[in-house]
């Protein structure tokens, strides 16, 4: 029998402050549902003031009592070990190709991960933290994200995303996703992500302690279940750090107000947009993103200025080499890589001011299918 965690959010202010965890966001004031958990809080005098009525729910309250739950086309699977939800692609979520953008996909992955954590009763404050974590001021932080899209959904397509989480190593946990197209049942994408625990005061990584593990492992599959079960799959590939000079770049990118999450940190999905900014137009016009891997190294704050650098990845001699030519932002002579239909790039996001690395990544592009 699954034990339901008893969540006690005793200090809302602390829980809100300084969290880079993007997967599970949400303002406290509005969370009306708390399936299988009890939340009690003291009204705070800060701007995140909370009506006690909204925050106190009974343990026996049925999931699905609120309107948003009734409308939500998702829920835990029968064994309770994963979560599935359906989404319809809306008109403002498609891009120049009339298909969902990678940012839309990434946003949906984030949403479904957040809804999963919520449905198992984790942090109804929206952070996916277990009770012990909150006691110890620990938060989840994204370390790595890898998304592969085999077929992009179009406007009004309905997709179903299944997600689950499990332990990874000593300090991390992973969350995997599978996306499929409801109409045909075919798998249209897969994703995996690695999360680590960080002390939100010291901003240092921390090992996942056994108490925390116990709390969330009940909701994880017993046997390892990987979205990418192949050995040496691309999600694990080491990414070299790009060095100057790089082939393509877009400098001086600034976070917009809309890029900020509720803690005034730059949303992880924004990084994807920044990486794409330095991809040359010729590729964007003719190719679509097949896979993207991002390693998150440093947090980006509201007033940071970021440079996005892109270089080609050559894979001859089974060695990954990053190629640099002159630093111009326009495409120069074609290389052997351009003859293929698949392009691979290495990326670096770094602070304009001192060059410190924020994120590094890798993308693969395939020729756009004729639609």
């Amino acid at each position: 029998m699954l034990k339901f965690p008893y969540c006690n959010v005793t200090d809302l202010n602390q829980a809100l402050a300084q969290c880079r965890f993007v997967g599970l966001l949400g303002p406290l004031a509005s969370r009306r549902q708390s399936p299988r958990a009890v939340v009690s809080c003291s009204p705070s005098s800060s701007e995140f003031s909370l009506t006690p009525v909204q925050a106190v729910m009974s343990c026996q309250q049925q999931v699905g009592s609120s309107l948003v739950n009734r409308l939500r086309l998702g829920g835990l699977t029968e064994d309770g070990l994963s979560y599935k939800e359906k989404f319809i692609i809306r008109g403002f979520e498609v891009g120049i190709n009339k298909i969902a953008t990678i940012e839309t996909i990434a946003n949906l992955l984030q949403e479904v991960g957040s809804n999963h954590a919520q449905s198992v009763g984790f942090s109804t404050d929206g952070f996916g933290t277990t009770p012990t974590m909150r006691k110890l001021h620990l938060i989840w932080v994204t370390a790595r994200m890898h998304i592969e899209v085999y077929k992009y959904p179009a406007w009004r397509d309905v997709i179903e995303i299944e997600t689950w989480s499990q332990n990874e190593g000593r300090i991390g946990t992973r969350r995997d996703w599978i996306l499929n197209e409801v109409a045909t049942g075919e798998v249209i994408g897969r994703a995996t992500s690695k999360w680590v625990m960080m002390n939100q005061d010291t901003r240092r990584m921390q090992k996942v302690s056994d108490d925390v593990k116990e709390e969330y492992l009940v909701f994880c599959p017993r046997e390892p279940r990987l979205a990418f079960s192949e050995k040496n799959n691309k999600s694990l590939k080491r990414i070299a750090k790009l060095e100057d000079p790089v082939r393509y770049s877009k400098l001086g990118l600034k976070p917009r107000r809309a890029d900020l999450d509720m803690n005034q940190h730059v949303n992880n999905v924004t990084y994807i947009g920044w990486v794409l900014e330095s991809i040359p137009k010729e590729i964007i016009d003719t190719h679509e993103l097949q896979a993207i891997t991002l390693f998150y190294r440093r947090e980006c704050q509201q007033y940071d200025v970021v440079d996005s650098l892109t270089g080609l990845e050559l894979t001859e001699d089974s060695k990954t080499v990053s190629v640099g030519t002159n630093g111009s932002a326009t495409a120069t002579a074609t290389t052997r890589e351009d003859d293929h239909d698949c392009h691979r790039f290495l990326h670096l996001l770094r602070l304009s001011s001192d060059g410190r690395e924020i994120s590094r990544g890798r993308t693969e592009w395939r020729k756009k299918p004729t639609r």
Binding site: L24, L25, G26, P27, A29, S30, R31, R32, Q33, E47, F48, S49, S66, L67, V68, R70, L71, R72, L73, K86, I88, R90, G91, F92, V94, G95, I96, N97, K98, T101, E103, N107, Q110, E111, S114, N115, G126, R156, V158, G252, R256, R257, A258, L260, D261, M262, Q264, N267, V269, G273, L276, E277, K281, I284
Partner: protein
Amino acid sequence: MVATAVTSAFFSVTSSPDSSDSKNKKLGSMKSKPSVSSGSLQVKANAQAPPKINGTVAVTTSVEGSKNDDGASSPPPRTFINQLPDWSMLLAAITTIFLAAEKQWMMLDWKPRRPDMVIDPFGIGKIVQDGLVFSQNFSIRSYEIGVDQTASIETLMNHLQETAINHCRSAGLLGEGFGATPEMCKKNLIWVVTRMQVVVDRYPTWGDVVQVDTWVSASGKNGMRRDWLVSNSETGEILTRATSVWVMMNKLTRRLSKIPEEVRGEIEPFFMSSDPVLAEDSQKLVKLDDSTAEHVCKGLTPKWSDLDVNQHVNNVKYIGWILESAPLPILESHELSAMTLEYRRECGRDSVLQSLTTVSDSNTENAVNVGEFNCQHLLRLEDGAEIVRGRTRWRPKHAESSANMDQISAERA
């Protein structure tokens, strides 16, 4: 309750339940009496045990009562043959009563917006109210929440845009592109928004479900007005009202066009004659320049995700840029309560824009409440070509913003 329902179904119901407001006129029409009007019905009703509905005697007794006053033709001789048609009539009557009762029952139990969701699981939306209003629900997702813990104005505008497209689509008014009818496509015409006015009474938060209703009307002789009403699906509280003005443009020549007769034939059936949902903000929008602008943000360029299918910058993105140059103290302590935008020009991927903002004097004729601010905005290209002109109003988020207000006033003094 069933007996009442059945009875009331049979007689004309003068007052409908509160839940059925103007949107549910269709259901009200079933109040008319079933079309059974044979005098012989009353005879038969006595002769055989009427079917019991939940233990109560059927309504035929009251039918009898009401029918007594009908024209009194002398009853035909009661042979076996004559009795047969009465059975079928009785059966028809009972069936009709049952159906009417069921409908009435449903109406009494009906909560205002539940059927929408049952029939519309993916929130695609549906046309209501005589086919003129399109209604769609949206759940506010976690990533749609901005820094202010509420759905961002961009999210709200995206919802408005989405319902507009879906309305056109479900009304059969969508040609190949977004927002052009088949006749328009043939003539290379597109709708272009020239003016948008939004008033937000309250921003939805994470987990809220909003209902967006939209409809179109004529605007002058050659324009179209689209209105929106956004409400909280659960409470019915009005959250946002918006109105927009659209004109027709030839997409090749980029010149404005009158509405051709063929297009008029397509769209006029869908026009509602109603007052605008918002009083038009008739105050002239001032064009800022370098000398009058207090805050300027330069070097703004569209990202890939800002472009729509035509590689033009999506209308909604302009709002984000406008806010780029809004003074931070206002952004942090106040929330956008009203916005008026005039769209002048489009821009594309390679455009480089500048965003200018001035905080208006509170002593102008446009009186504001205490703690509120007005701002003027301009979005233009580097060469000065104007993209969007706008005006925004801001109200304090919370009572504790008085400190910020002093700061803002001091800065401008």
